[in-house]
């Protein structure tokens, strides 16, 4: 009995200490809730989240309209304008290809050629031209999904028109993934699948996608290191040796941030090198762009770390709050789940995060877009770095001056 009592006493002491530390409670309970909320928002909702597809209907016939209606009945959300708004500029083949790659407004682009309605399915024999399906190589299975949906839509159309299904599988059955440009005899609509973008660096696999997502997340975690050390020194008073020397608070802050950038930069390359050695990710073929993007990312994460530190009183508080913020940013920004899976309403929020911009930049490099392809992303990241660093430094500088006299 005594042993149980003592055991409970010790456990109770730990709980009591924990309950008195709000920051520790925060870091224990909040991350799980935040992540759950984010993933639930991404994946929850009615079954069969709408599949977004751009459409360029060059035929504009009753036949093509019927196919489109059937697709919409199968929970495919069709976009016919560049902006997604009804009054936006109409999609063209070129703009559709561009928008798949860059902005993710739709996952695939369906081009219905002129004359489709005259021979809308394979029953029409050689007159059937099929449809063109443009897709992003980073999400190759989207093409397969859309192909299946097209078959289902075509089958539904056939059932509605009462056409004979002799010699074909019913449209209500699951389709098998198609291979290249062949014409399997069970397909109702022939689909010409065309991948968008140059995959000169080899096929884009999950290891590219995860590298793009995880690198910014983990440099964010280490980004607050410099600010954390500074807060710890301010808390212990040992910062005063530095401040009593013939230097300014700006020296201290810039030196701290430089440390953060250097540390983060080496962290990036440690991950890149591992990815190259173990998974064959071809980092050397995008060396220049990777250097620029990594530097911009590290500057942004370090500046953000300084800003977070400026608003925290203690190193422990920074750890707690920083963890929650970084996990939330990483979840929304595409570090944990690719952004193209997220619901539309969530997509713009990814662009409010460092992760989102770094992710897009990395994918652009993998697509062989080179330095020109990451100019936008790098500029935004450097802008974030400057804004966060300036604001964080102003606040920290004032705190350092106050700290001097403590």
């Amino acid at each position: 009995m005594r042993s149980l009592r003592i055991i409970w006493l010790i456990a109770w002491k730990e709980l009591k200490v924990l309950l008195r530390s709000r920051s520790t409670m925060l870091v224990i309970f909040l991350p799980g809730i935040v992540l759950y909320a984010t993933f639930a928002a991404i994946f929850a909702g009615p079954a069969g989240r709408p599949f977004r597809a751009g459409l360029v209907d060059l035929d504009d016939s009753p036949g093509s309209h019927q196919l489109v209606e059937a697709l919409q009945a199968n929970n495919v959300k069709i976009t016919t304008t560049e902006t997604g708004e009804p009054d936006g500029p109409p999609l063209t083949v070129e703009s559709a290809k561009r928008l798949i790659r860059k902005q993710g407004k739709f996952r695939v682009a369906l081009i219905i050629p002129k004359g489709f309605g005259d021979a809308p399915d394979m029953l029409s024999g050689d007159r059937h031209k099929g449809v063109e399906l443009y897709f992003d190589e980073t999400q190759a299975y989207e093409a397969e999904t859309m192909t299946g949906m097209l078959q289902m839509a075509a089958g539904r159309k056939l059932l509605e028109t009462g056409a004979s299904l002799f010699g074909h599988r019913a449209a209500t059955q699951s389709t098998q993934p198609s291979v290249g440009d062949e014409k399997p005899d069970w397909m109702l609509v022939h689909v010409h699948k065309i991948g968008v973008g140059d995959i000169g660096h080899g096929p884009i696999h999950a290891e590219h996608v995860f590298l793009a997502g995880l690198v910014p997340m983990f440099v964010l975690f280490s980004a607050s290191n410099g600010a954390r050390n500074l807060l710890a020194e301010m808390g212990s008073g040992s910062i005063r040796r530095l401040l009593a020397a013939p230097i300014s608070p700006a020296h201290v802050l810039l030196g701290t941030m430089l440390y953060g950038v250097i540390l983060s930069f080496f962290q990036c390359y440690a991950m890149y090198l591992f990815a190259w050695l173990v998974f064959g990710v071809q980092i050397w073929q995008m060396a220049a762009g990777l250097f620029v993007l990594s530097l911009a990312t590290c500057m942004a994460t370090t500046g953000f770390g300084m800003l977070m530190g400026a608003y925290c009183r203690t190193a422990e508080q920074l750890d707690a709050i920083g963890t929650v913020i970084i996990l939330a940013m990483s979840a929304v920004g595409g570090s944990m789940v690719p952004r193209w899976i997220m619901p539309e309403w969530m997509l713009p929020y990814g662009k409010l995060t460092i992760n989102g911009w770094a992710y897009d930049g990395f994918i652009a490099l993998v697509r062989n877009e080179g330095l020109a392809g990451i100019l936008n992303e790098s500029a935004v990241l450097v802008g974030i770095a400057a804004a966060c660093a300036i604001l964080g430094s102003l606040i920290m500088s004032r705190r350092l001056r106050f700290e001097q006299g403590r």
């Binding site: 008073g237 013939p246 300014s248 006299g405």
Partner: protein, 310 residues
């Protein structure tokens, strides 16, 4: 010319007046002590002098030049903070090299200065050991060395012996005395009167942000009229016996407190002999006899009505 002149310094934090009209001066080769309890304003005063904190009003003049910029002032000042301001995972030599570079020391000069400081604080043998392996006393010594690398004219030591063992404390005292012998002006803050009595040529008694009294130990003692006392402990001593004993000792001012007779005296040697003889003649047997010299504790008590350690 005084190395440091502080005139009418004031600093408040909201309603709290941390430093109130503080003025003093320190000459080269002099150790000036600021003695007071915790919260008296000693560290705030040092922080203002070291330019870490801006005063609300008043003036700090270094080496007779009132127009020095804060950066220029810091080059003349060696600041040894109360906190151990060292990188624990670096060696002693690396810590000193880092600080030296902050003061623009470089090359052979830096190397020589680092070696000299390590020798001066007795850490040469541990020069390449990581600071986290040092004892508290060793860290304190290294902390002092870091403040002296650039050969400052004025050394500010903020309670440099806090939490230190007696051996290291004695070592630190030697270092401080050597600084004065080298011609540096030293401002030493402490709440230990024995440190101030041992080291300081002059002492400023500080309480509630004010210097209550300032001068040499003798001046302070005379100012408050503190006297030497001969104390004879004789349990059961009556007031009558005490009067007779005091009369035998020339009518010395005296008081009786719970069996302890306190007599004000001028010469301890003469008084001791006389007291023993007088007690013997009266058939009294003292349990103990001692002479209490007036101390800064006495001065502080007299000035503030409470003990230094209250």
């Amino acid at each position: 010319m005084n190395v440091l002149t502080v005139a009418n310094l004031r600093k408040s934090y909201g309603q709290l007046a941390a430093v109130r009209d503080v003025s003093f001066a320190i000459d080269s080769g002099e150790i000036f002590g600021l003695l007071g309890p915790n919260g008296a304003g000693k560290s705030t005063t040092i922080n203002i002098i070291s330019t870490l904190l801006a005063a609300d009003s008043g003036q700090v003049v270094l080496c007779g030049d009132a127009n020095l910029s804060p950066i220029q002032q810091r080059r003349l000042i060696g600041y040894v903070p109360q906190e151990i301001s060292l990188a624990e995972r670096m060696t002693a030599r690396e810590n000193l090299s880092l600080v030296g570079r902050l003061y623009d020391l470089a090359g052979a000069n830096l190397k020589d200065r680092v070696a000299a400081m390590l020798t001066a604080v007795g850490l040469t043998e541990r020069a390449d050991d990581v600071v986290s392996t040092f004892s508290g006393g060793m860290k304190r010594r290294l902390n002092i060395a870091a403040g002296l690398l650039h050969e400052p004219k004025l050394v500010l030591l903020d309670e440099p012996t806090a939490g230190v063992d007696p051996q290291s404390r004695a070592y630190i005292f030697e270092i401080v005395e050597r600084l004065a012998a080298e011609g540096r002006a030293v401002l030493y803050t402490t709440h230990y009167m024995e440190e101030a009595e041992r080291l300081c040529a002059r002492v400023g008694i500080v309480d509630h942000g004010q210097i209550l009294a300032m001068g040499t130990l003798d001046e302070l003692v005379n100012r408050v009229g503190a006297k030497r006392e001969l104390i004879l402990e004789m349990p059961g001593l009556t007031a009558q016996s005490a009067e007779r004993l005091a009369a035998r000792l020339g009518g010395a001012t005296h008081s009786l407190d719970d069996g302890a007779l306190r007599l004000t005296i001028s010469s301890p040697e003469h008084a001791l002999l006389s007291a023993v003889r007088a007690a013997d003649e009266l058939g009294l047997t003292p349990k103990s006899i001692r002479v209490d010299e007036p101390t800064l504790e006495t001065v502080f008590l007299s000035l503030t009505g409470r003990a230094l350690r209250d």
